[in-house]
Amino acid sequence: MSEGADLVGQAMARFAAARLWAAHRAPYLATAVFALNPVVLEPYLDDRTGRPVPDVEFRAFPADTRWNVHVDTGTALATPVEEIGWWLLHQVGHLVRAHAERSPAAEAHRWNQAADAEINDDLEAEGLLGPAGVISPAALGLPPNRMAEEYVPMLDVLAEAVGKGGRELSEAVDCGSAADGVTRGYEGSGGGLGDLDRELLERSVAAGIQERIGARSEVPSGWRRWAEERLRPEVDWRARLRAVIRRGLSSAAGRVDFSYRRPSRRAGAHPEIVAPAMVSPVPGVAVVVDTSGSVTEPRLDRLVTELTGILNGVAGRNRRLRVICCDVAAHPVQEVRRAADVRLVGGGGTDMRAGLAAATALRPRPDLVIVLTDGQTPWPERRVAADVVVCLIGEDGHAPEWAATVRVPKEDRS
C-alpha cells in the first residue's frame, strides 16, 4: 500500500503547488485560498496498470459549504498545477458568494452554470482564463458583472438556441455543494470550518481586500463590490421604508391621550377617584406623487401599490388615503381606499414645494406626508408642518435634510 500513500503524497504536493500559484495570482484571496481544507479521496485505480484514473466527477475539485475541497488523487495527478489553482480560486468564489444559500431548489445544474458565470467573469478580468469547456460570459457573449440569478434566464435562452444546433453550452462540471447546496455522497469526511469560522474568515478576506484598495493595490472590480457589500450589507429598502413610516406614524399614534368622555377601566377599584380612559388618535397619511415626465408611470403604479400595502400593515387596514399628484403645480386631492383607484395625472416639470404646500393645507391636517419622487425638484427650504418621508427613486436625486429619506431602486430587480 506504500505506493498508494506515495501517490497521495504526490497529489498533495501538486495541490500545495496549486495553492501557492493561486495565492500568488490573486493575493487578495490568499487567506481564503489557504483556508480551503483538502480532503483526499480514495484513488480509483486502473485494473491493468494499477495507476489512478482521473474521475471526471471531481474535475472541479468540488467543495462543500464547510470549505472542504475534495481532491481525487487521479484528477490531481493528471491536471496541470495552474488548472488546479484556477479551480481553487473558482471554489473560493462559490463559497464567499454564498451560492449554496442562494441556490433555487430546482434546476441545480443550470444554477451551477449561472454561478460559474458570476465567478468566471471576475477571474477572466484578471487574465485568469479557465480550462476549456467551462462557462465564460465573455465567450458566450453575455454581459459581465451580473448576479447568478440574472444569468439563469440568459443561459436558458442561450441553451435553447444552442440546443437546436445540437451543441452543448458547456461541459457538465460539478462544483459540489458549495455551488448548489445539495449534499453529495462523498462529503462529510472532512472537518472544515463552522459557521462562526466562516463568518470571521469572510469578514477578514473582505477587510483585507479593502485594505488593499486603500493601499492602491490592484483588486478586480467584482471583488471590490463583494467586499463593500460584505462589510456594509445593504438594507432592503422595503424594510427601511416600513421602519421610517412606522416611526413617522408612531409619533402621531403614540400621542396617547387621556379623555374623560369614557370611564376608566379601573374606575371600580377606587370609586372616590374619577380616572380618565386612554384614547389614541388615528394618524392621517397623505401621499404626494411626482408625476413629472422623468418618472415612468408603471414604476409609480407599483410603488403606490407597495406603499399602500406597507401602510395597511403599519396603520391598519382599509384606511382612507389622500393622494396628491404633483408636477409644476398640485393636482386636486384624491381620496381612495385602494391603490388601484389612484389616477396618476400630470407631466412636464416638477415643483415639490407646491405638492407639499397642498398636502399640509389639507384638513384635517395629515400627520405623515409620504413623497414619491426622483428628487429632480426644488424643495421647501424649511421643515413643513408634518413628518415627511421621501422615497427617492433612482440614485441621482436629492431630498431635504429635514425629511426621512429612503432610496428606492429605479428598476425593480427582484
Binding site: L20, H24, L200, R246
Partner: protein, 396 residues
C-alpha cells in the same frame, strides 16, 4: 448564522450572569416555554407579564389614596418577586404592547422599579418580542432600550422540533455565575480591544431600523465583557466536571496557551462555547463591532513575530490560513527591521513552517529573499523550497 443550541445556551449563560436579554422570534416557537423550563430548573420563581394585554398602570403602579397622599401600588407579580428576593421576570410581547405601555415597561427594564417598589438585583429580566416584520402591530424598540438588552435571535430548526416531539424538548443546562476575577479579566480584555479600536466605543445607530438592535456603547461593552467572563467561567466549570467524569483528555487545551485567551482557542471543548460567546457579544454590541471583538480575541493566541524569531519551540497554529497570517507578520516584521540577524532568524521560522505547509513557506520565502539585506547569505531552506516554487511556475 446562529444555531438554536447556541442561542439556548446563550440564554442560560445570560440568566446566570444576570444580563438582561431579549429573544426575538416568531410567535409559537417556544420562547416562553423554554424560559419557564429554565427558571424551574434553576429554582427561580418565574413571573410572566404579557405586555400587550396590560395597561401602563400595571407597570408604573396603580394610584391609591392613603394617609392623604397618593401611593403607587405595585401589582402582585412585582410584590411576589420582591418578597422572594430573587426570580425571573419574563416580559413577553415587548414590542407589540401599545407605545404608552411600552414606555411604562421601559422603566422596569431600565431602573428595575415598579410603582413605589424596587425589584431586588437578583431578579433576572428576560424579554421576548416578535420581530416588527412578523407582528402585525409591532413597533421598533427605541435605541435607549435596545442598548440595555442583549438581543438573541430565536430560531427553530426542523430537526430540533422533530426530536423534541419524540423525546421532549431540551432545556439548556444552567450555567454558573461568573466570578469577580473572571469579570475583571474579561473587562481588561475588552478594554485592551477598545484601546486599539477607540472608534467602536460608541456608535449611535443612524437609521431607525438599526436602532432597535444592539449597538456599541460603554454600557453594552460592559455587558459584552460580562458575557465573555460568564462563558469563560462556564467553560472552566464544565471542564472540571468533565475531568471528574474521566474525560480529561478532551479539554486539555486550557493550560498551554494560558490566560483568558485559551477560551478562544479552537480546541475541541471550546467549540460550542465560542458560538455562545459570539451570540452574546453580537447581541450586546451589534454585528459590526461584535465580530471585530471576536476576531481580535481569537488572534490573541496567535504567537507574535518577535517570540517566533527568538524561540525555536514557540507553538505554531494548526490552521493553514492562520499559519499564513503569522508568517506574513514575521516577514513584514523582519523586512521592517532590516538587520541581517533578524533576516537569518526568519529563515528558521520558514523552515519550521515548510515541514507542514511548504506552499505557505514558499510564498513567504519569496518575499523574504527579495528583501535580502547586504551581506546575508541565502540559506539552504530556499533551495529546499525550489521544487514547489518551480511546480507553481514561480521560479524560472
Amino acid at each position: 448564522m446562529s444555531s438554536q443550541s447556541a442561542v439556548r445556551e446563550a440564554v442560560a449563560v445570560a440568566i446566570a450572569a444576570n444580563l438582561p436579554v431579549i429573544l426575538w422570534g416568531a410567535p409559537g416557537t417556544g420562547k416562553t416555554s423554554s424560559v419557564l423550563a429554565l427558571g424551574a430548573r434553576l429554582g427561580l420563581p418565574v413571573e410572566v407579564v404579557v405586555g400587550s394585554i396590560r395597561e401602563p398602570s400595571d407597570f408604573s403602579g396603580l394610584p391609591v389614596l392613603r394617609d392623604g397622599g397618593t401611593w403607587f401600588a405595585p401589582p402582585r407579580w412585582a410584590e411576589r418577586l420582591a418578597a422572594a428576593g430573587h426570580g425571573l421576570l419574563f416580559l413577553d410581547e415587548l414590542t407589540t404592547a401599545p407605545p404608552a405601555v411600552q414606555a411604562a415597561m421601559l422603566r422596569v427594564v431600565l431602573e428595575r422599579t415598579v410603582g413605589d417598589l424596587t425589584l431586588p438585583d437578583e431578579v433576572r429580566i428576560v424579554a421576548a418580542a416578535n420581530p416588527p416584520d412578523q407582528a402585525a402591530d409591532g413597533w421598533d424598540l427605541s435605541a435607549p432600550l435596545a442598548n440595555r438588552l442583549i438581543h438573541l435571535h430565536w430560531q427553530v430548526e426542523a430537526a430540533d422540533i422533530a426530536e423534541g416531539f419524540a423525546t421532549g424538548f431540551a432545556v439548556p443546562e444552567p450555567a454558573p455565575a461568573p466570578s469577580p476575577a473572571a469579570v475583571a479579566r474579561a473587562r481588561a480584555l475588552v478594554g485592551a480591544f477598545l484601546r486599539v479600536r477607540p472608534e467602536l466605543v460608541l456608535a449611535v445607530p443612524d437609521s431607525p431600523e438599526r436602532a432597535g438592535r444592539g449597538w456599541p456603547s460603554p454600557r453594552s461593552w460592559e455587558m459584552a465583557a460580562r458575557a465573555v467572563a460568564a462563558c469563560e467561567h462556564g467553560m472552566a466549570a464544565r471542564a472540571v466536571a468533565a475531568r471528574e467524569h474521566g474525560m480529561a483528555a478532551r479539554t486539555s487545551a486550557t493550560g498551554e496557551d494560558g490566560e483568558a485567551a485559551s477560551t478562544f482557542a479552537a480546541g475541541e471543548g471550546g467549540k460550542i462555547s465560542e458560538d455562545v460567546v459570539a451570540e452574546l457579544v453580537l447581541g450586546a454590541v451589534g454585528e459590526a463591532a461584535g465580530f471585530e471583538l471576536i476576531s481580535w480575541l481569537r488572534n490573541l493566541d496567535l504567537p507574535d513575530p518577535q517570540t517566533l524569531l527568538t524561540d525555536r519551540h514557540a507553538p505554531l497554529p494548526d490552521r493553514v490560513d492562520r499559519l499564513y497570517a503569522v508568517l506574513g507578520a514575521v516577514v513584514s516584521h523582519v523586512l521592517a527591521d532590516g538587520s541581517p540577524q533578524a533576516w537569518e532568524q526568519a529563515w528558521t521560522v520558514v523552515a519550521r513552517v515548510a515541514r507542514s505547509a511548504p506552499d505557505v513557506a514558499a510564498g513567504a520565502a519569496r518575499s523574504l529573499a527579495r528583501g535580502r539585506p547586504a551581506g546575508a547569505a541565502l540559506p539552504h531552506t530556499m533551495l529546499e523550497l525550489a521544487p514547489i516554487l518551480r511546480s507553481a511556475g514561480l521560479l524560472r
